[in-house]
Amino acid sequence: MRNKLSWFAVPYVAWMALMVVIPILIMVVYAFTTAQFQGTLENFSEMGAYTSVFLRSFRLALVATLICLLIGYPVSYWMAREGAGFQRVAMALIMLPMWMNFLLRTYSWMSILENNGLLNQFFRAIGLLELLGVDYLPMIGTPGAVVLGMVYNYLPFMILPVYSVIVKLDHSLLEAARDLGADSALVFRKVILPLSLPGVLSGVTMVFVPSVSTFAISRLLGGGTQMMLGDLIELQFLGGSYDPHLGAAISMVMMAIVVACMVVMNRFGEGEGEAALL
């Protein structure tokens, strides 16, 4: 039976090679060649000019991930303590926004954050703007708006894995800890927190990776002034300056940095069980 079944894996392996491995290899080839496909390292040496974009991307993504963690963890934790009905409804509510396209939801934020948008209109109505002596509070086009967009879009990706780990925690472990003398704070610190670490790690990955590479969010909420790695890459492929070789090189470096971060992170949380994706 075993051998017969393992044949099922063959087409899959071929498919993975074709659609996952080869495309990445082609990208690597592009990264190391010029437009005439001659070997070069120029694409990488040119990248020094974009250090500030790298720094901005990683900084904003890091801030967004932290905020997601700070909001997402307590929410997951509290949700896991509620009754089954509450949990079911809450989960559905968290999944539901994904069915409305993220571009639209982000666009909706634009109309909230604009200089003449709903929030500023609201501030004006309550007299806050007059109090501060300004016409509007600048929100759109700031790094804060981009971070908000990231937190808004990727918060569910933090809540889902953390929640699913916490809710599956064996209740008797918590009882055992209390039985051994730990009060609620200690139970949380010594048992719940370390055991939910795999969920946190996968949540962090699932928020950080799309954040660092986004281009739509920074385009819409950053007003083009907050260029991120994603914008830079898009610019080289379908944007204003066409240079797929440079784009491939940037993608590769970004990928390498992200993978390195993740390896370090997983080392840090090693042996905390398998990372529970989704």
């Binding site: 064996d170 008797s172 800890a177 209390r178 039985d179 003398g181 730990a182 670490l197």
Partner: protein, 389 residues
């Protein structure tokens, strides 16, 4: 001799209006090995959790050393628990699991939080590892241990805190038979060595009889009987206890006078007294207390319908006037043969009628798997208490 340590007085517990414990009265002595025995759903685990502090009884009191501790949280009780599936911390190794309780800062009398020094923790953990025979395993991960080893870690983790009482919730349920027997002896040895109270929950009557000083038989959220293993076996209080502990033929009888009980319209001598004249009673006759005699010498006469060889003895099913008895004997009587039986007065035990009367039929459906079937019959948790209403 022994001093009372824990007392449950009139404890009742209900979840969502469903009563799972109904007026439990129980005291537990210091250094006693007490077993809560009963089918699943009988309330034994609930009782244990009340003592452990994981549940607060709906009404009634829990006293520890004479002090009411109803609302004292588990981490403030000098009671530790060995959980059903051990509940070992998967993110910690053996050593750290055992040291878990020791590493928690304790508030001393002056309200000062104090940590145990590392050296003392190390010494106590190593000592415990010695006691449970796990020296050299301290760096192992929990997942790398066998069931028996996990069991020992769980015991060590609880005992290292030097509790006054250790609660064990079906701790051997997940082990195979051989390991179970070894661990039974091991637990008994540890209890003697440490000199503390063990409260043990099981549904396995053999285990209960073998290990305990006192057995508490429970069903339907009520205590059916408290006594030494011998008492429980020899003098069951009602049909439930008689049926649950060991094999028994339970018959309807009428107490004609002190020392005389009538079964199948025949009078038998017995040792029981204190019943009303002509009171309807349940009569228990253990299969090993029945002697087979030639047909004409018997007090009752019947036909052998089935014989099973059990190694030490034969299990024979005999039909007496349409009621099938189980008899354990060393002499073979072939199927279809007519036999007579004799029962000594001390082989007959008379009980008052109870709600369980008539619930346990004869042995007409007896098979080799009888034990398993009877166990399975008790159904899932909660059902037993539900029936009561």
């Amino acid at each position: 001799m022994a001093k009372e340590l824990i007392r449950l007085s009139d404890c009742t517990m209900s979840f969502d209006g469903e009563v799972v414990l109904d007026g439990i009265n129980l005291y537990i002595n210091d250094e006693e090995f007490l077993t809560l025995l009963g089918p699943s759903g009988c309330g034994k685990t609930t009782t244990l959790r009340i003592i452990g502090g994981f549940l607060t009884p709906t009404s009634g009191d829990v006293l520890f050393d004479g002090v009411r501790i109803n609302s004292v949280p588990p981490h403030k009780r000098t009671i530790n628990t060995v959980f059903q599936k051990y509940a070992l911390f998967p993110h910690l190794n053996v050593y750290e699991n055992i040291a878990f309780g020791l590493r928690i800062p304790k508030t001393d009398a002056s309200g000062h939080k104090a940590r145990l020094p590392e050296g003392e923790i190390d010494q106590r953990v190593m000592e415990m590892l010695e006691i449970v025979n796990l020296r050299g395993f301290e760096k192992r991960r929990i997942t790398q241990l066998s069931g028996g080893q996990q069991q020992r870690v769980a015991i060590a983790r609880a005992l290292v805190n030097r509790p006054r009482v250790l609660l064990l919730d079906e701790p051997l349920g997940a082990l195979d038979l051989k390991l179970r027997k070894d661990m039974q002896n091991e637990l008994k040895r540890i209890q003697k060595a440490m000199g503390i109270t063990f409260i043990y929950v099981t549904h396995d009557q053999e285990e209960a009889l073998a290990m305990s000083d006192t057995v508490v038989v429970m069903d339907g959220g009520k205590i059916q009987q408290i006594g030494t293993p011998e008492d429980i076996y020899n003098e069951p209080k009602n049909a439930f206890v008689a049926d649950f502990i060991g094999e028994s033929n339970i018959l309807d009888g009428i107490m004609r006078q002190d020392g005389v009980v009538e079964l199948f319209n025949r009078r038998f001598q017995c040792l029981d007294k204190g019943f009303e004249k002509d009171e309807a009673v349940d009569v228990v006759i253990r299969p090993e207390d029945i002697d087979i005699v030639p047909e004409d010498q018997g007090q009752l006469r019947g036909t052998v319908t089935s014989v099973t060889f059990k190694g030490m003895q034969y299990d024979i099913i005999v039909d007496f006037y349409g009621f099938k008895w189980l008899i354990q004997t060393t002499d073979l009587s072939p199927v279809g043969s007519r036999i007579g039986i004799k029962i000594d007065p001390d082989g007959i035990h008379v009980m008052r009628k109870s709600q369980y009367s008539g619930m346990f039929g004869d042995y007409s459906s007896y098979s080799e798997e009888y034990e398993e079937i009877s166990d399975a019959n008790y159904g899932p948790e909660g059902e037993g208490s539900g029936d009561e209403e």
